[in-house]
């Protein structure tokens, strides 16, 4: 393995810390557990295929050819949004390089002053004033940075994500600043598609039953029963989710903030990011600028000189990167195969069922400093989809 590393060019995605998998030479970025994402794909493609096979021929002839055409357009839009959400960088913040980490440590020491021996040092918090409200920025011990406002650390992907919303197992990725609008459009278009298929299934069954009788209809088009079942259960969860996110967008809040109750309650700070105007909030979230990825995934690593263009220190290691050497070696070995087809390398294994993954605890990190663990904000327990699905299946 190490011989391969020396002779071929290494791209930066291969050395990125965190628990993401990369495909297509760094163009695609996803979480490690992709089982539920494959299920989502299967359900959408499967149900739509049944619709096109069983209902569309009849409806095109007896009602209008526009029906399947619109269904196809909607299906492509749903798939495009899903793939865009799943494959793009959600807004991952790169970890601090050693010099930056040291600089921040020095600032913290200076701010804390002399802590008497035996006493715990105060928590690492920085107060900033945003639109005349005091917001506390927490220090991330894994990434060694003070998290920007609205950023949060996802324990599943082991990355700090900007404007972190939640980690969605259904799309197999975190939802953050860069892909939130695609996620919202995915849920919205999927709601429309589900309602559309459900409605036309009913129309089709009614129309056919008038001619042939109800039982004969079901025998001729067995796919209809399956579609109706899938659509019925999907409808409640997806439409509910779309409604919830519409509410969040109108208030310019994230799921993470809503769950933690950051801006609710009388004694709490009011949301400083809201424009206090629903239209403005919606426009900012949905029609705002398309942020670029700050992770240069496809850039080439310079093997003989440090990654940072400015650092000229001759004694630094070939890749100035906070990952310790053993971890670095493990990552190298793992990621050389990632260029082909990514494997699940998690010790706990990919758990396709949502219920099983709910019991999973945050995976242990090797070689981490003995620091307070970041609470698993993005565990499936706090994931809104799973809680809605769980509620509905009771």
């Amino acid at each position: 393995m190490s011989a391969v590393m020396i002779t071929r060019k290494v791209r930066k995605w291969e050395k990125l810390p965190g628990k993401n998998t990369f495909c297509c030479d760094g163009r695609v970025m996803m979480a490690r557990q992709k089982g539920v994402f494959y299920l989502t794909l299967f359900l959408i493609i499967g149900t739509c295929s049944l619709f096109f096979a069983f209902e569309c021929p009849y409806l095109a002839v007896h009602l209008s050819p526009a029906i399947p055409v619109f269904a196809i357009l909607l299906f492509f839009f749903v798939m495009a949004m899903l793939l865009r959400t799943s494959f793009s960088d959600p807004g991952v913040l790169p970890r601090a390089l050693p010099e930056e980490a040291t600089f921040i440590e020095m600032e913290i020491e200076a701010a804390n002053g002399n802590v008497p021996a035996g006493q715990r040092p105060p928590p690492r918090i920085r107060n900033v004033q945003i639109n005349n409200q005091i917001v506390k920025l927490k220090y991330c011990y894994t990434c060694k940075i003070f998290r920007p406002p609205r950023a949060s650390h996802c324990s599943i992907c082991d990355n700090c994500v900007d404007r972190f919303d939640h980690h969605c197992p259904w799309v197999g990725n975190c939802v953050g600043k860069r892909n939130y609008r695609y996620f919202y459009l995915f849920t919205l278009s999927l709601s429309l598609l589900t309602i559309y298929i459900f409605t036309f299934n009913i129309v089709h069954v009614v129309m056919r039953s008038v001619d042939n009788g109800f039982l004969n209809t079901l025998k001729e088009t067995p796919g209809t029963v399956l579609e109706v079942l899938v659509c019925f259960f999907t409808l409640w969860s997806v439409v509910g989710l779309t409604g919830f996110h519409t509410y969040l967008i109108s208030l310019n809040q994230t799921t993470n903030e809503d769950i933690k109750g950051s801006w609710s309650g009388k004694n709490r700070v009011q949301n400083p990011y809201s424009h206090k105007n629903i239209i403005k909030n919606c426009c900012e979230v949905l029609c705002g600028p398309i942020y670029p990825s700050v992770l240069d995934r496809r850039g080439l690593m310079q093997e003989d000189s440090p990654v940072s263009a400015t650092s000229a220190a001759p004694s630094s290691s070939s890749i100035s990167n906070p990952v310790p050497q053993t971890m670095h070696a493990v990552l190298c070995l793992q990621k050389t195969t990632a260029a082909l087809i990514p494997n699940e390398h998690t010790p706990e294994d990919a758990k396709p069922s949502v219920a099983a993954s709910a019991e999973k605890s945050p995976s242990p990190k090797d070689g981490d400093p003995p620091a307070p663990k970041v609470p698993p904000l993005a565990s499936p327990e706090t994931d809104v989809e799973t809680s809605i699905v769980k509620d509905k299946t009771h």
Partner: protein, 156 residues
């Protein structure tokens, strides 16, 4: 004894000087999460560069980022058009933000060549640091005999 050294380009700077220190200009969150950097002048640069030049650089960078993140007619148009094409249009077109980032990269290179490198300083584009900080590297001339106790003897 004071030595006067001029660095004519960045290559010369890297080869003949060694990295002494790095200063990190932090983000200014007073107006929200839009990208803006603090214009506070760090004490480590006091002997190296004039305050006004530094502030000018940071203010210009801030204005570029504000232009990129501006929410107005053009961003709505871009957003709606992209949505109508299921965002496939970005396979062939550059987003407005990316265009501004290219302008920023050019501006930083120009500032480095004209102002910062002659003073033994180098600005790193914030995008390489996750848009969290502006990293300014302070170089010390290797050949100097350390005439002023550790601090640089390079003049611009």
């Amino acid at each position: 004894m004071l030595t006067e050294i001029r660095f004519h380009n960045l290559q010369e700077l890297r080869h003949s000087a060694s990295l002494a220190n790095k200063v990190f200009i932090q983000r200014d969150y007073s107006e929200g999460t839009t990208c803006k950097f603090q214009t506070k002048f760090p004490s480590e640069l006091e002997s190296r560069i004039e305050r006004t030049l530094f502030e000018d650089t940071v203010k210009t960078l801030n204005s570029y980022y504000a232009e990129a993140e501006k929410i107005g007619g053009q961003s709505y148009l871009e957003g709606c058009l992209a949505c109508a094409t299921a965002y496939l249009i970005f396979l062939c077109m550059e987003t407005r933000y990316e265009k501004v980032l290219k302008k920023i990269a050019k501006y930083i290179q120009e500032q480095n060549e004209k102002i910062y490198a002659p003073r033994g300083l180098l600005i790193t584009d914030p995008i390489e640091r996750g848009m969290r900080v502006i990293e300014i590297s302070i170089y010390e001339d290797r050949g100097s005999s350390g005439s002023s106790s550790g601090s640089s003897s390079v003049f611009g």
